[in-house]
């Protein structure tokens, strides 16, 4: 588990997810919301990749596009050897059991008219040929795994608390023995004391079942706890992708640095003495991102080049990738570094 030499289970390559904007009387296509704009990364088997960023940065869209809940505009998403961005509907359906999702709002993602056992059992009905008795056994097994009492099998979602509902959502995601699970803000709607319960459950399940997670969250301290590597997203692009300890000890990208300095620490002395990097202004609209670096409108370290040229995500230290001109003395040209990480390094390309 969490072994650096493990093979890549998920490979995302140049993924773009644009939502078209239509305007005028004729509803002409007048532009795109670039929710995810040319993103590439890999996730090793058994690893947890944390994905952080502010609301509207495209992290949820990325998670959904990766499972093809949206049809991506461009790019490849290879999960367990198959490019799911291009699979036919029938092949995609067969692929679905490998990849599952846990949603943010357990209230909205569970059908209020279905009992717990029919919610957890539905994927089994759809994708397996189990008999009714076998299915019931599997449902009980799943309920045990996520810590739900078997007596609750015939209850309905409204009879459960938020934390228990999230356990139901996790049991449903586990029903088909997936390899890869996208957790889209699974704890954001829960109280602090319940958050820890759910996070511990996710970690236990990972150890037991060898799961691979994409953990999407805006809670940087929880991501530090659960993730092995962390990707920081800003306005549709990944600005930094680093191993967890490196990122939290010394963030490289100015946005990652500001984001970390904005976290409220439960320590009054540190809160009094530390200096925050206060970002000015708000997130620009993804329909009309800045011409140069997406962060150039708010960056405290902005300089000329940032205004005209989008920085590529390149490796600046072993295992650490940053998309920032401060760390790129030479303009990268494809193939200049050679070796094994070329393709990955220039994923975001330089668009002028």
């Amino acid at each position: 588990m969490r072994d650096a030499s493990a093979p890549d289970l998920v490979q995302v390559d140049g993924l773009k997810m644009y939502f078209p904007v239509y305007s005028g009387v004729l509803r002409r296509h007048s532009g795109d919301i670039k929710a995810v704009d040319d993103v590439s990364f890999t996730i090793r088997a058994g690893e947890t990749l944390g994905l952080v960023g502010e609301s509207g940065c495209g992290k949820s869209t990325l998670g959904r596009a990766m499972l093809r809940l949206y049809d991506p505009t461009a790019g490849r998403v290879v999960i367990d050897g198959e490019d799911i961005a291009r699979l036919s509907p029938e092949a995609l359906r067969k692929k679905r059991p490998t990849m599952q999702m846990v949603f943010q709002d357990p209230q909205a993602s569970l059908n209020p008219r279905m009992s717990l056992s029919s919610i957890i059992g539905e994927p089994l009905v759809e994708h397996t040929a189990l008999t009714t008795a076998q299915r019931q056994d599997r449902i009980y097994e799943l309920m045990d795994q996520v810590g739900l009492n078997r007596r609750f099998a015939n209850r309905f979602p409204h009879e459960f608390s938020g934390g228990q509902r999230q356990r139901i959502g996790i049991a449903r995601a586990l029903a088909l023995n997936p390899k890869f699970i996208v957790c889209d803000e699974p704890i954001a709607a829960l109280d602090v004391s319940i958050q820890a319960q759910v996070v511990n459950l996710l970690e236990d399940l990972q150890d037991k079942l060898g799961l691979t997670y994409l953990f999407i969250s805006h809670d940087l301290s929880m991501v530090r706890h659960i993730a092995d590597r962390v990707a920081v997203m800003y306005l549709g692009r990944i600005v930094e992708l680093s191993p967890r300890d490196d990122l939290y000890a010394r963030p490289l990208h100015p946005y990652a640095e500001a984001l970390l300095s904005a976290v409220n620490e439960p320590n009054p002395e540190r809160a009094r003495t530390r200096s925050r990097i206060l970002l000015k202004g708000d997130l620009p609209s993804p329909a009309n991102p800045p011409k140069g670096c997406n962060f150039c409108t708010r960056c405290p370290k902005v300089f000329d080049r940032c205004l005209t040229e989008k920085p590529a995500l390149v490796q600046v230290e072993p295992g650490r990738k940053v998309a920032c001109h401060l760390f790129q003395t030479l303009k990268p040209t494809a193939g200049s570094t050679g070796g094994f990480h070329t393709q990955d390094d220039f994923q975001q390309g330089v668009t002028l």
Partner: protein, 336 residues
């Protein structure tokens, strides 16, 4: 100017129940606290712990029925808010007590301009003319750091971003220079970088204007950054109350301790496993006869079921000024 040491707000034994078809829910149970000028009281607790209901009871913002403020005394200066007529109370709200709520989109009126909404308390409470109020509203927007205020004052709420809307809410709350500002999870709906902006702004404004602030949140990190004193609520009652440093350094109630341990941090040692508080928060279906935290407490013993613990000062200061805790175990054994 009032006596500096006299409290702006003094709440004693506040008890609020809700009448529902399933019977009474005891949402707030004998809550007492006081606040001096220029002080920030942080109120923490999980959802359902009664922190918002407490603050709404103070100024009659709860619909009655189903709510009923059953007992207590809420002294704002020399007047008891609970004894006031509805009309008098509406003179207090907005003028003496300002509010900032969690979600600025739902608390601003979408069909009026921001100017309109800032002018309302100014003409209603301060007796300003329309022209004076308009001039003042631009000043207020500048005060809360909205650039280009003279132009933006004509905007509608949807034309602002979330952080800017919250600044507008703060401007409205501060319009009449209230003695007390109640901020109910003002940063919860905002992103971290915007959260940081709003917190810095509030600190700054407080230094300038010197009002007392009650800051309700479930985020211990926010509390550490802004509060002078902290009140921890659980199951509708105050379980611990102390100056901010003591809450973080020597928490005495098992709930406070557990709460602090469940939060991961971004600096310091990374725990291999998060510690959890097992179980669920209680639903207060009856007046508490036992400790509300008993069922989830690691130090639970017989007395906890027999008797609801009272707040007990841990230092020689009067209750509500120093460090106090409501726990039988801490009274009999305590943390070393």
């Amino acid at each position: 100017m009032a006596d500096e040491a006299a409290p702006v707000l003094d709440v004693r034994g506040l008890t609020t129940v809700f009448h529902t078809r399933q019977g009474e829910i005891h949402a707030v149970n004998a809550v007492s606290f006081a606040l001096k000028r220029g002080e920030v009281l942080g109120v923490v607790g999980e959802s359902g712990s009664g922190k918002s209901v407490t603050m709404m009871s103070l100024v009659g913002l709860l619909p009655t029925p189903p709510a009923e403020v059953r007992a207590g005394q809420v002294m704002l200066g020399t007047r008891d808010l609970l004894q006031m007529s509805a009309k008098d109370l509406s003179d207090v709200r907005g003028a003496k007590v300002g509010f900032v709520f969690q979600d600025p989109m739902t608390s601003l009126n979408p069909v009026f301009t921001v100017e309109n909404q800032i002018c309302e308390p100014l003409t209603r409470h301060m007796g300003l003319s329309k022209a004076q109020a308009r001039a003042r509203s631009v000043e207020l927007l500048e005060l809360v750091g909205i650039p280009d205020a003279a132009k933006r004052v004509k905007y509608y709420p949807h034309q602002f971003s979330g952080g800017m809307r919250q600044r507008v809410m703060i401007a409205i709350a501060l319009a009449c220079e209230p003695d007390l500002l109640i901020a109910d999870e003002p940063t919860t709906a905002l992103d971290v970088t915007i959260q940081a902006q709003i917190i810095e702004l509030m600190k700054d404004l407080q230094k300038k204007l010197g009002m007392a602030i009650i800051w309700i949140t479930h985020d211990m990190g926010v509390i550490a950054g802004i509060a002078d004193r902290v009140m921890v609520m659980y199951g509708g009652q105050v379980v611990e109350h102390a100056p901010v440093d003591q809450i973080f350094h020597s928490p005495q109630h098992p709930y406070t301790r557990a709460l602090l341990r469940t939060i991961p941090t971004i600096t310091g040692k990374r725990e291999a496993r998060l510690s959890v508080i097992e179980g669920q928060p209680p639903i207060m279906a009856q007046a508490p006869k036992a400790c509300p935290f008993g069922a989830r407490c690691a130090h639970h013993f017989a007395r906890c079921d027999a008797e609801n613990p009272q707040r007990r000062p841990l230092d020689c200061l009067p209750l509500g000024q120093g460090h106090d805790v409501a726990c039988h175990w801490s009274a009999e054994v305590g943390y070393a």
